[in-house]
């Protein structure tokens, strides 16, 4: 019994373990007899390959936990690759820099402003919390806003000057890494605003963004430049190579971003009020609203984070594949959603988490690695992906007992006995235990 419970509690990781096992057993060996699948290079390669999808899936997890969906991440990432590649390779006022400079300025201004207000607010209230009481005084919505607003304005202006000064030359690696996500953040903010203020269905709002961001990317790149190539050292700064290097010879740079995102947002979900609100809104939006949660703000923030991470993924894509193209992320949103779902996060919202997403992303990465090592056709890989999605979700969503009950339910019931004897029909032990929860709930 305890073993069973442990099995079902850790079932998230069993799929991963099984995939690893299959990989190790089926792997070809080098001439010296070493297992290629388990080799250090192969495993870091897998980590490198999943990082882009993983970053996007991290943001997607927040949005799905909230009960929403973000279909636009692929296109937003594609758009970000264009912005990033153009900023790296083309000096002067190109469409990319025209978009990027104001986006960076606004993002910096608002970001610093809100951060400052948040800190002031926390300082102001800290004493009351320590005393274990709620705030006696009523904080007006505009009280304590002037200083943060001023700080925000200053920082926004500074950011504008700093980015504009880069425009005359080509952007450096740090500059693209900061500026490109700001543009994606803005697109995410548009998504969020449409959903929160326009009361659009998340599916529809982000579908519209998915289509228009692709168009926007193509317009920005210009007709002749469907693909913008980035050659570090020739048409772009050599320093950009750092984004595809190994960190201390252990981790590929993209995976550092991915792991950092998982850890940061895992902590956000677990330890912050924002994380708690995401689960609460996903679980029951009406109850959350009536509990005094500012649902709109939380939703807006989640879509912005999703956009931001898609932007970071865009920069990493450029570094990885040495090019920016509008359709770089086509299909990425579906990969991300699949990874989230495999990780056990409910599409209805309110249930799941980033640990699952991490596992889901790795399962996909390892699977395609195994199939590549076996030289199996990429179309077979697609087929396998589909099967994996169905298989894992079947196991995730219903426990084994429920499946057994269903089978039992299809078996023909004994005919109604005329005598109605007490011993006429006794259900098996399995069905009794598995039906426990719903039935007790019904009975109460």
């Amino acid at each position: 019994m305890i073993v069973l419970r442990l099995l079902s509690r850790t079932k998230l990781y069993w799929g991963l373990a099984i995939i690893c096992l299959i990989g190790a057993l089926a792997s070809p060996h080098t001439s010296s007899g070493r297992n290629i699948f388990l080799s250090f290079n192969n495993l870091t390669d897998v980590l490198r390959q999943v990082s882009i999808t993983g970053l996007v899936a991290t943001g997607m997890t927040l949005v799905i936990l909230l009960g929403g969906i973000d279909l636009s991440v692929g296109s937003v990432m594609g758009f970000s690759t264009i912005i990033c590649a153009m900023l790296l390779t083309q000096p002067g006022w190109t469409p990319a820099s025209i978009v990027a400079v104001p986006a960076a300025a606004i993002a910096a201004g608002l970001g610093v402003g809100f951060l400052a207000r948040f800190v002031f607010h926390g300082l102001e209230r800290g004493r009351d919390v320590d005393a274990g009481r709620r705030n006696e005084t009523v904080l007006g919505p505009w009280r304590g806003v002037r200083i943060p607003a001023l700080l925000g304005l200053v920082c926004g202006a500074l950011a504008a000057v700093a980015t504009a000064s880069q425009v005359s030359t080509k952007f450096g690696v740090l500059a693209v890494l900061l500026v490109t996500p700001c543009v994606a953040l803005a697109l995410g903010a548009i998504n969020g605003t449409l959903i929160v203020a326009g009361r659009l269905q998340p599916f529809i709002a982000t579908l519209a963004m998915m289509v228009s961001a692709l168009g926007l990317g193509r317009l920005t790149a210009g007709q002749d430049h469907a693909v913008i190539a980035v050659y570090t050292g020739t048409n772009a700064t050599q320093a950009f190579e750092v984004l595809r290097s190994m960190v201390w010879g252990i981790l590929p740079m993209p995976s550092v971003f991915f792991l950092a995102a998982i850890l940061i947002f895992g902590a956000v979900l677990r330890f912050t009020t924002f994380g708690r609100y995401i689960y609460a809104i996903g679980g029951n939006p009406e109850a959350a609203k009536l509990s005094g949660i500012k649902v709109a703000q939380v939703q807006l923030a989640a879509y912005m984070i999703s956009g931001l991470l898609a932007g970071v993924a865009g920069v990493l894509f450029v570094a990885q594949y040495r090019q920016g193209k509008p359709d770089a992320g086509s299909g990425l949103e579906l990969d991300a959603i699949a990874a989230v779902v495999i990780g056990g996060t409910s599409l209805m919202g309110g249930r799941g988490g980033l640990a699952g997403t991490f596992v889901g992303v790795l399962i996909f990465g390892l699977l395609s690695d195994i199939l590549q090592l076996q030289n199996i056709d990429s179309n077979v890989q697609l087929l396998m992906k589909g099967l994996i999605i169905v298989g894992t979700v079947l196991v995730q969503e219903q426990n084994l007992g429920q499946l057994l009950t269903r089978w039992r339910g299809q078996a023909p019931l004994p005919p109604p006995t005329r005598t109605g004897s007490v011993e006429a029909y006794r259900p098996s032990q399995v069905s009794m235990t598995s039906k426990t929860r719903e039935d007790i709930h019904e009975a109460s």
Binding site: V129, N135, F271, T273, G283, N284, I293, K435
Partner: protein, 544 residues
């Protein structure tokens, strides 16, 4: 509940037309013998994974009687009804219908045998018309393919008319009030040729007037020979409606008796297993300044037909330690008053609200929280609780922000709040990490009140605080409310149950069609006085 007098308006010709209509062929005049036992259950037991829900229960049902099935939540009422209706198929014991042993293989099987159940949650498709719902799944067809709409409407109208229900069969269910939907559900059951009708809490969402209509239909059906099993948490309606009553406690039958000669308190003590007394507290004459003042509260809602005024000129004060009850019929604007104060009413709101004499503007639940106003909503599953999550998370939800610092949650503080709530409200549970869905209704309600107490409110707004919970738990909730008032909270309670309103309130504000019909002091507040004020048409209609 305004109560019905026994035996009103039995419409004989309608009753007989129901009998002669579609049923005569089956029971061949046997219905004249109204004491024939149509259903007999002997030694019925049922366990859910080792937990005994029913133990050796005997039950019999005579044709033409209304048989009330009473018991606290978890006493086994639902289980027994579900066994009789074929929902649960694995049980021990024997069930006979008209002497013949039966063992249903499912709900359809039970329906074929003439047993129909009407669940508390109605199973109607909101977007279809009443007629379409009645014939859902067995639509008459033209040429075996197309749905014959004309025949559906004709047959449904005829059925509704025979039952004396004044509902247009072509209206969509979504447009009907809950009470009317309930009647459609009954018509649907009868169109299935039901001889035994099981009704699970049919009045839990109905207004007094709708209850009257329902009772009329139920009595007619009984006259026509249909045997009815009826459950309700409202004792007064059971006493008024039922012929016999069976009381279950902890899965066992403790009483079956004719309703005559049984007092309400006798039924209650049979259900609870001990004497229960409803004591009104001594009214606290508070002279301190009001915590909550409402002046000229007005609310307009947008509907498909334009603006509709749902509240007009509501004004009242609540002092610390005072309980103001709000009475009135369903739809008279009671809930809207609370929602308007709490800042979550949909629509355009006008009027002044002052807390501690200072005018405030509350435009969201977040504003209300800051001002320490709390609203415990009517529908705790949909609006109050996150049912799949733990007690800890539910209790802490409105306080997560207050317990945090720089956005980082104070887990210790949250757990402390949840533990306090469990202790103070005597929530029966394994611990703060129990999932709320596994608690009984009464304990869920305690959690739902507790999550607001954890925010340290000054004003507590309660909407139907005891809906759907059993007698014992009701007592505890009453004691809790009295205790909170004694601590100096200003409390506003909306309730549909007259005894509860009279018991709890220091003063009663009566609403009638969106207008404030009057405020009665504790001494003036009697059932008659409240009903007189609440009756529609007594005050002028609210101008559009």
């Amino acid at each position: 509940m305004g109560m019905t007098t026994h035996g009103v308006s039995i419409q004989d010709e309608m009753a007989s037309s129901v009998r002669s209509g579609r049923r005569s062929s089956r029971d061949g005049g046997q219905t004249s013998d109204s004491h024939a036992v149509v259903l007999k259950a002997e030694g019925v037991s049922k366990t859910f994974a080792g937990v005994t829900a029913l133990r050796d229960v005997d039950f019999d049902l005579r044709s033409g009687e209304v048989h009330a099935l009473m018991g606290e939540n978890g006493a086994g009422k639902s289980t027994l009804m579900k066994i009789l209706a074929g929902v649960h198929v694995d049980y021990d014991g024997e069930i006979r219908i008209e002497g013949a042993p039966v063992r249903f293989s499912g709900v359809q099987d039970a329906e074929r045998a003439g047993v129909a159940i009407i669940h508390q949650e109605l199973n109607l498709v909101p977007e279809l018309t009443a007629a379409e719902n009645i014939f859902l799944g067995r639509e008459p067809l033209i040429l075996g393919t197309l749905v014959d709409h004309r025949r559906i409407v004709k047959a449904a109208s005829a059925l509704l008319k025979r039952l004396g229900i004044e509902i247009d069969a072509q209206r969509r269910i979504a447009e009907l009030r809950i009470g009317e939907q309930q009647l459609v559900e009954i018509a649907k059951a009868l169109s299935l040729d039901a001889r035994i009708l099981i009704m699970d809490e049919p009045t839990s969402a109905l207004s007094t007037a709708e209850c009257e209509t329902l009772f009329k239909v139920v009595r007619q059906l009984a006259q026509a020979g249909v045997a009815i099993i009826y459950t309700s948490h409202r004792l007064d309606e059971v006493v008024a409606l039922a012929d016999r009553v069976t009381v279950l406690r902890d899965g066992e039958r403790v009483l079956t008796a004719p309703i005559e000669g049984l007092s309400q308190s006798a039924i209650i003590s049979a259900m609870v297993g001990r004497e229960v007394t409803l004591t009104r507290r001594d009214s606290v004459a508070s002279s301190s300044a009001p915590v909550l003042s409402v002046r000229n509260l007005t609310l307009d809602k947008v509907s498909s037909r334009g603006w509709r005024r749902v509240l007009l000129g509501v004004s009242f004060d609540v002092r610390p330690g005072e309980i103001l009850g709000i009475g009135g019929l369903l739809g008279s604007g009671r809930t809207e008053i609370l929602e308007s104060i709490f800042g979550v009413a949909r629509g355009w709101r006008d009027g002044e609200i002052a807390i501690d004499g200072e005018p405030v503007s509350i435009n969201s639940a977040a504003d209300a929280c800051r001002l320490r106003v709390a609203l415990v909503t009517e529908d705790r599953k949909a609006l109050g609780l996150h049912i799949a999550s733990t007690i800890r998370d539910n209790v802490a939800l409105p306080s997560v922000g207050a317990a945090s610092r720089f956005g980082v949650r104070g887990f210790a503080r949250e757990a402390e709040l949840a533990t306090d709530v469990i202790d103070k409200l005597a929530v029966r549970c394994y611990g703060i990490d129990q999932i709320v869905a596994t608690l009984s209704g009464g304990n869920q309600q305690k959690v739902s009140i507790g999550k607001w107490l954890a925010t340290g409110p000054r004003v507590l707004l309660l909407d139907e605080p005891t809906r759907g919970i059993d007698v014992g738990a009701k007592q505890e909730i009453y004691q809790l409310i009295f205790g909170l008032a004694a601590e100096g909270l200003a409390i506003v309670v909306v309730t549909s149950e007259m005894p509860e309103l009279l018991l709890l309130s220091d003063r009663v504000l009566v609403m009638s069609e969106g207008r404030q019909a009057g405020i009665l002091s504790g001494a003036e507040a009697t059932q008659e006085a409240i009903m007189r004020l609440a009756a529609p048409g007594m005050s002028e209609r609210v101008a559009p």
